[in-house]
Symmetry: C2
Subunit: 422 residues, 2 copies
């Protein structure tokens, strides 16, 4: 962690403390790691260790802002790809600690070469930045070609997601050989991270698509309040939380005995779905209808069967007209774990507004991100059930889709995904 | 200011205090208003009065986040337009005070009608929200038709900006009959404001384009640090600041004797220019070249002739090869007030990243906003000089463009733009 602080804000003490914490975490098993201890802390000056048992940015308390990018690998040279992962690891570790992307820095010269940091984050604190890397199916095989000798390492679940009803996918917002999720309290910090990693990757990768999110739509810690999506409802109430350590092992972390567990253990699958909401139509629905679509009250987020936000829904409680008070086609009824063999997700999505659509409305919605141990049992059936039965679908349109395998944490001296390339 | 607080955070006392401040400001002449007193305050719980001598959101200390929207008016009914301005005024005032957009609120029913607030800002503080309205040329005359009987009220300067070199304008990101600039510390608060105003306008206006900005690129108060744009440089060092009261009258506020001063006095012109930066190419330029393009050092922002950020550039100081140390084709040399008869702007732009371009890069840049008393003397000549002489132009591409007249402040009992429709 040598080098010049980009910020002038981080003293050596803080940097050393962070390094120490990172070193400490690396010796754990599949335990939760430092993130749970930090759940209540989300100050702009926060730093999370880059190295650890799991990659940061999954159970880390969900930061407010996102910049997500998917990349195509533009080389067939395995060593060039590995070299990039080594460089990305070094730069990502530096930036998460509030340092410039490279050891020279943005502004101190030498003057006859491009700086190794782009400079727009000078003066900004680390901002709770986490950087999380994932590998798409195309890294293992693309158009029938095994470019990097990885085809036999591909877990069966790591393949393009099937077509779902209401998928009107933009190819330029879907897929990708690699992904990087940057989350921070300050969007400029997240953008700076993606931009510098893309800069470092020039010639080896090209940005395929990228997405900014401005408001987190899930909590990943019981210490966080449940935020609201652009339907105006609390979202992610039933999320798997960092404090549920047994559930994390069951639902989120790939285990050594799982398919691909030889390199993916301690990792997870990241499902990304760009979900447009027709908010203008939604906004003209009566409050009772909105609550019926969701199956929860808009104010407190309590299920329509009563209680508070975290009360379990009672799907058998009768309502009017001999129908359950929670409609059977409501979102909560359709996606509830009880309808899917107990399957849950760790969701980490963000609200987005990307200008306007062609109809005089906002191009707005939810950039859905979920981490699951097995997309075949925890995501695909839930999405299919939504497509078939969920009245909310009338207000949703999926415009982007991707699946990535997120390798486990990066140990000291290692690079991201080292076990895959070993 | 009756009604239910959307947030449960604002007590009656805070709301009363803000209202009192607004009432106090309304009796001033063309003095600065409350904003200058608040220059140092930018907490998330901040509220700025909506009513006053000038519209808020101009000299107000620049907030961190932007949502800007331009609208087409879809009716020919003058009264419908006035009614909308009345409704917008009421909703904007409420939201800037941390309240729901309407008096009923998002979640408390009645259940058989759509709520008068969309709900996604529940629990969020006012966030320093300002909402600023502007009128485009199309409001006065469109395709030769004087839809609203306003044609003879149009100041000569309020017309489509001329075509500039490097303009590759997207029609869907340009123009508009009306605009709303929403600035806040929290993007969800800014998005909520635009979304609810668009909702209220349904049937009378349609969103033509909208733009999110994540990082302010100018300071509007001497108490704010100069932020950085995506070139990594400090931006807006020479901005007109709220504390320069005489300069505001000279450079920003339309005066009663100006063209259109009968309704526009105390207002300003808002120039919007969506400026794409080819950051991937920029990032490969040596530091010395980057500094030469800008004419300032990347670290401190000092002019290349020396001193600190706020030292006046010395354009005659010799450098090497008998050339000035500040290149004559550097950005600071080309746009400096000394080259434009002393013309300055109050800039209030934001960084943006809107996904990717077609070349494997980020669709990124600066959403330039400037407020000027007269675009014909303070903006157009400066943009033309940039086009002709500025080496920075190699890294810029203008993809959106619009000009609006921003009427003066809204007094008690008035609606936005009342003097225009009187």
């Amino acid at each position: 962690m040598a080098g010049i602080s980009r910020r002038g804000l981080l003293g050596g003490g803080a940097a050393l403390a962070a390094t120490g914490a990172a070193a400490g975490i690396a010796v754990g098993g599949y335990a939760l790691g430092r993130e749970s201890e930090d759940a209540a802390v989300d100050a702009a000056s926060d730093t999370y260790p880059f190295r650890g048992t799991h990659q940061a940015g999954i159970v880390t308390p969900a930061q407010d802002r996102l910049h997500f990018a998917a990349f195509d690998v533009t080389t067939d040279d395995r060593q060039a790809l590995v070299d990039l992962l080594v460089q990305w690891t070094a730069a990502a570790e530096r930036m998460t600690q509030g340092l410039d992307a490279g050891p020279v820095g943005a502004v101190d010269g030498p003057y006859n070469v491009p700086p190794d940091d782009t400079g727009e984050a000078i003066g900004l604190p680390a901002g709770g930045l986490t950087i999380t890397f994932g590998f798409g199916p195309g890294l293992f095989e693309k158009d029938g070609v095994d470019r990097f000798g990885l085809a036999d390492r591909r877990p069966a679940a790591l393949r393009d997601l099937p077509h779902f009803p209401a998928d009107v996918l933009d190819r330029n917002r879907s897929g990708g050989d690699l992904c990087i999720q940057a989350c921070a309290q300050d969007p400029q910090v997240a953008v700076h991270a993606i931009r510098n990693l893309a800069r470092i990757g020039f010639g080896t990768v090209a940005v395929r698509w990228s997405q900014l999110g401005f408001g987190r739509t899930s909590s990943t810690s019981t210490s966080q309040e449940t935020p609201r999506n652009l339907f105006g409802f609390k979202d992610g109430t039933a999320n798997v939380k960092a404090e549920e350590t047994a559930e994390l092992e069951e639902q989120v972390w790939v285990q050594p005995e799982d398919d691909g567990g030889d390199w993916l253990a301690g990792g997870s699958y990241l499902v990304a779905r760009r979900t447009n909401m027709t908010i203008e139509v939604w906004d003209r629905q009566p409050l009772a209808d909105q609550e019926g679509f969701i199956g929860r009250t808009k104010g407190t987020g309590a299920p329509l069967s009563g209680g508070d936000e975290f009360t379990e829904p009672d799907f058998s409680m009768p309502g009017s007209n001999d129908q359950p008070v929670i409609p059977v086609d409501s979102h909560v009824a359709v996606v509830h774990p009880s309808a899917h063999g107990g399957a849950r997700m760790l969701r980490r999505g963000y609200n987005f507004v990307d200008g306007t659509d062609d109809l005089g409305g906002l191009n707005a919605g939810l950039f859905f991100i979920a981490f699951v141990r097995d997309p075949d049992t925890q995501f695909i059936p839930v999405q299919q059930a939504m497509s078939r039965n969920d009245t909310l679908m009338e207000y949703l349109k999926f415009t982007g889709s991707a699946l990535f395998a997120v390798p486990g944490g990066v140990g000291e001296g290692e690079h991201v995904g080292q076990a895959l390339f070993a």
